[in-house]
Amino acid sequence: MNMSTTNNIAQARKLVEQLRIEAGFERIKVSKAAADLMSYCEQHARSDPLLVGVPTSENPFKDKKPCIIL
């Protein structure tokens, strides 16, 4: 019975240590985080082929004919 209690204590100590680390984390507000996510999307939107679409001629997958290397 002592062995399992000792093991439980070791586990409980690890959990407390882990929680202390997580509790000490420096967080920012969701409003700031959200603004940054949006800003990233906006900055990169134009170069996102699946978002804005690229002409068939420029997308190798949209061209039905396989490439032939001459």
């Binding site: 002592n2 997580e22 967080r27 700031k32 999307c41």
Partner: protein, 361 residues
């Protein structure tokens, strides 16, 4: 008749139980504190902030290529950095390298086990890694000689005590990160097979992982059957953040392209977005009509779209900022098991239990 316990042992037992009780109280207090701290900063929802963003138009995405050749369920796939080659692995034990432009098979390896659940392309494009029920991750250098037997040059790198669920090279061919049914993740040196770091903290099978995008960031995220997504410091082995809001197994995790957030897909039929700096879940992507689990998720290049492969054979495309679904794609005839966007974002590939892979654009 049992003799009564010796008085010293009884006192010791009481002391140990008291210590245990103190630790439990302390961990409960810390958990409450964590929730309070997170809640204080929860001043708004992402979709509210995103109301001013222009809505997305209609999307037309179709299957542009179908890769046929596997004899059983496709379980995993990965893109080569050259944006055209793909490696895929299957329940039938085969690992195939394809040219996705032409649909030609360039290499094929037969693994000594079935259920090859993980595969990855090396950054150089010169090797692939794979593993599954063999509990290992092996690296196969790809030969230019099509006739050469790839299995001959196989290198066993990782050894777990249960199945390999995912693997991924770090920014070079020299190191591999693995996750396993044994509840751990591990970092390995490819050349020597040496274990460089192990990551303990999940309470059950780890099903997925993803490396942070920046070359300087030394972190990765993992998801498991304990419903937790953990963020790890690769150098120390420490779990630095943990998120537990899913209601079932987390099958897939993928970083947002900026590295400040990650998405997850779960058997609870939802995808979720967690912001790392706010240290909380900031969006849930779900619908009442979607009741089947998500097997795999990935972002488009700008992070605006989130693609999810589902067990009901469909792909749902989500507006990451507004939280709404923008498209649903049909085509596979069984579960979608794996999904990755190509390195230049021009297409995404899905693998399915219907034995095929599809390229969508």
């Amino acid at each position: 008749m049992r003799s009564p316990p010796i008085p010293e042992m009884a006192t010791q037992e009481v002391q140990l139980n008291e210590t245990l009780a103190h630790l439990k109280t302390e961990s409960d207090t810390l958990k409450t504190k964590l929730e309070e701290e997170r809640a204080k900063l929860h001043d708004v929802e992402l979709h509210q902030v995103a109301e001013k963003v222009e809505a997305l138009g209609q999307f037309v995405m179709k299957t542009r290529r179908t890769l046929k050749g596997h004899g059983n369920k496709v379980l995993c796939m990965d893109w080569c950095k050259d944006k055209r080659r793909i490696v895929s692995s299957s329940q039938d034990g085969k690992v195939i390298v394809w040219d996705a432009f032409t649909t030609n098979k360039e290499h094929a390896v037969t693994m000594p086990c079935t259920w090859v659940m993980a595969c990855a392309y090396a950054p150089s494009g010169c090797a692939v890694a794979c593993g599954g029920l063999d509990n290992k991750c092996s690296v196969y250098p790809l030969s230019l000689d099509k006739n050469e037997n790839l299995a001959a040059k196989k290198k066993s790198v990782a050894m777990h005590t249960n199945y390999l669920s995912a693997c991924c090279f770090t920014n070079s061919d020299m190191q591999i990160l693995t996750s396993s049914g044994d509840g751990t993740c591990a970092l390995w040196d490819v050349e020597s097979g040496q274990l460089l770091q192990s990551f303990h903290g999940h309470a059950a099978d780890v099903l997925c992982l993803d490396l942070a995008p920046s070359e300087t960031a030394n972190t990765f995220v993992s998801g498991g059957c304990d419903k937790k997504a953990n963020v790890w410091d690769m150098r120390s082995g420490q779990c630095i953040q943990s998120f537990e809001t899913h209601e079932s197994d987390i099958n897939s995790v993928r970083y947002y392209p900026s590295g400040d957030a990650f998405a997850s897909g779960s058997d609870d039929a939802t995808c979720r977005l967690y912001d790392l700096r706010a240290d909380r879940e900031v969006a849930i992507y779900s619908k009442e009509s979607i009741i089947f689990g998500v097997s795999s998720v990935d972002f488009s290049l700008s992070g605006r779209l989130l693609f999810g492969g589902y067990n009901d054979y469909t792909i749902n495309v989500w507006d990451v900022l507004k939280g709404t679904r923008v498209s649903i794609l049909f085509g596979h005839e069984n579960r979608v098991s794996t999904l990755r966007v190509s390195p230049d974002g021009t297409a995404f590939c899905t693998g399915s239990w219907d034995h095929t892979l599809r390229i969508w654009a």
